[in-house]
Symmetry: C2
Subunit: 330 residues, 2 copies
């Protein structure tokens, strides 16, 4: 019996959520609907231009881990923050959700700060993310505790971390420790542009190490450099034992052992799309580590995704288990 | 023509909003429904005990000023923050709302941090506030710019600041500068326990200087040390040209020039009561400085209060002018 069902590794970020009209995005030079990396100067400039904001803990893998912890799963998280106020907020919110988070804080003297993501939410609920990585960029193999990885049924790797050269080594170390102890590896592709930047590294990892792949349609197409979604799904299923590919309002496609399931999305009004994929993965992994069949895991993922996009912020605010029960899933 | 319609002076705070059951309040020694002052050690301890939270700019008078600015009024705010991340958040959110906020930042070397209020919201929507004042405690007469106060049609003073000994002098300086230039003085009583701590100072100021008094029923009763609400209202009206006293779901009582109006509340589901009084005052002052009659100002105040209690956070998220128009007030 391992201590952790899932240990996540990713970018530790506080989200700065502001609403704006589409015209603002064009004026401010923000690309709609994707994640763009920005430096501190740009972060200061952009922050000065957006309206009043709310600060909530974010980070893709951290949202996933918070979702699993919310459901009662045993989880831990690895991601770097600084010894500053935003770092304290990030750490508090993970621990308060029940996740284990023992991080080596970057000291106050370090120039870079805790990472933040200025998320601009347009009236259609779409989020355009502007990420200042800060100290989370410097996650290295030294931050990986072999014993923790060996004590995980699953590790969950955030594709965004491919943007950090030293994080490739961190992932390799985590994979070796986890698999060496009989654990399994899940990965989220995170973003089509991140895949473009690091396609070969993604493909190698998916082929050689990944047991469960999370992605959305755009990421899947980018990964296999095709416009043929069915073909891309097929290719991924040749490489990976379990694939869960979300397709917005069309729901999710799950492929495993030659079988394929389509699970329709749960209709909901989109207030803020931030965290939909993260919470899908969280509920899916919770289901999987609690003995549920893959199709049921997909249903749970869709319910959790619908909850998180119905409000501002990327972590659950309603009791997900109660929602599962209301849908007849528990 | 003065530059500012309203200049507010108060505690500059970031709210840390967390949900909890009533049982948590008893376990954690938090008194329900009121504001309690806590030190940094208690703030750290309490924060460690609450669940995941959201950070949003707060501060009673700052919420009022943000509300007036949201409505398009010309405003400025005076309150102390530190040169830290929470201070930057507070400053950003006020400026982004359109308020003037030129503050002398407490330096990074200062031990105290930017103030914060751990607001615990129970299922009934009631908020129990735990305030670490931080550097905002040290607002002094030096922070008051006579020219700015002279350029204000109204100043708006936050009763909570009576907890800071040097802030009495700051208020006196602001009042003298404002009144000396023909401006008027409004005050919010803030909290019944704050009144208990400083009843004589409150009474003297109300009698000698205040042109417009905002309070709620409990504060009014505490101020005049009586259980007779009608008698207390009458007493206040003898001292102050305009009194606006809110009474939760019973609406608001407005007294002026021997007349009295009762304006019913706008029915709404309470999600988070934080900021109801602040936004009432904001909309009331906006109405007053834009030529509306007192009863109409009360109606606007009630609409704004209903908006702010319908969501988490103490500042408006919907277009208040559109809501006024929908209610036939504009």
């Amino acid at each position: 019996m391992k201590k952790f069902q899932v240990v996540g590794i990713g970018n530790a970020m506080v989200d700065v959520l502001a609403r704006a009209e589409d015209a603002f995005l064009a004026d401010a030079g923000v690309q709609k609907g994707i994640m763009q990396l920005i430096d501190m100067d740009r972060a200061v400039d952009l922050y000065a231009r957006v309206g009043p904001a709310k600060e909530v803990s974010g980070g893709s893998a951290a949202n996933t881990i918070a979702g699993i912890a919310h459901l009662g799963g045993q989880t831990a998280y690895v991601g770097k923050v600084k010894d500053d106020q935003l770092g304290a907020i990030f750490a508090h919110d993970l621990r308060a959700q029940g996740a284990t988070y023992e991080t080596s804080l970057a000291p106050k003297t370090e120039e870079a700060e805790t990472g933040r993501c200025i998320v601009i939410v347009t009236p259609d609920g779409e989020r355009s993310m502007n990420t200042y990585l800060g100290v989370t960029e410097f996650l290295t193999a030294d931050d990986i505790d072999d014993a923790q990885m060996a004590d995980a049924e699953w590790i969950y790797l955030e594709g965004y971390r491919f943007d950090g050269p030293e994080s490739h080594a961190a992932f390799a170390k985590a994979i070796a420790a986890c698999k060496g102890a009989g654990g399994r590896v899940s990965l989220t592709l995170s973003d089509p542009f991140c895949i473009e930047r690091h396609r070969n590294a993604f493909r190698d990892m998916v082929r050689d190490h990944v047991d469960l792949l999370f992605c959305n349609r755009a990421e899947m197409l980018s990964m296999y450099e095709t416009e043929d979604f069915v073909a891309a799904l097929g290719k991924s299923a040749e490489n990976v034992p379990i694939v869960a590919c979300t397709d917005s309002e069309n729901g999710v496609y799950i492929l495993s052992g030659g079988q394929r399931w389509h699970v329709p999305a749960v209709p909901t009004e989109i207030v803020d799309a931030t965290g939909a994929g993260d919470l899908f993965a969280g509920a899916f992994l919770w289901g999987l580590t609690h003995g549920h069949a893959l199709e049921m895991c997909g249903k749970m993922g869709n319910v959790a995704a619908a909850e998180v996009i119905s409000h501002i912020g990327a972590r659950p605010e309603s009791d997900l288990k109660a929602l599962f029960a209301a849908q007849g899933l528990l």
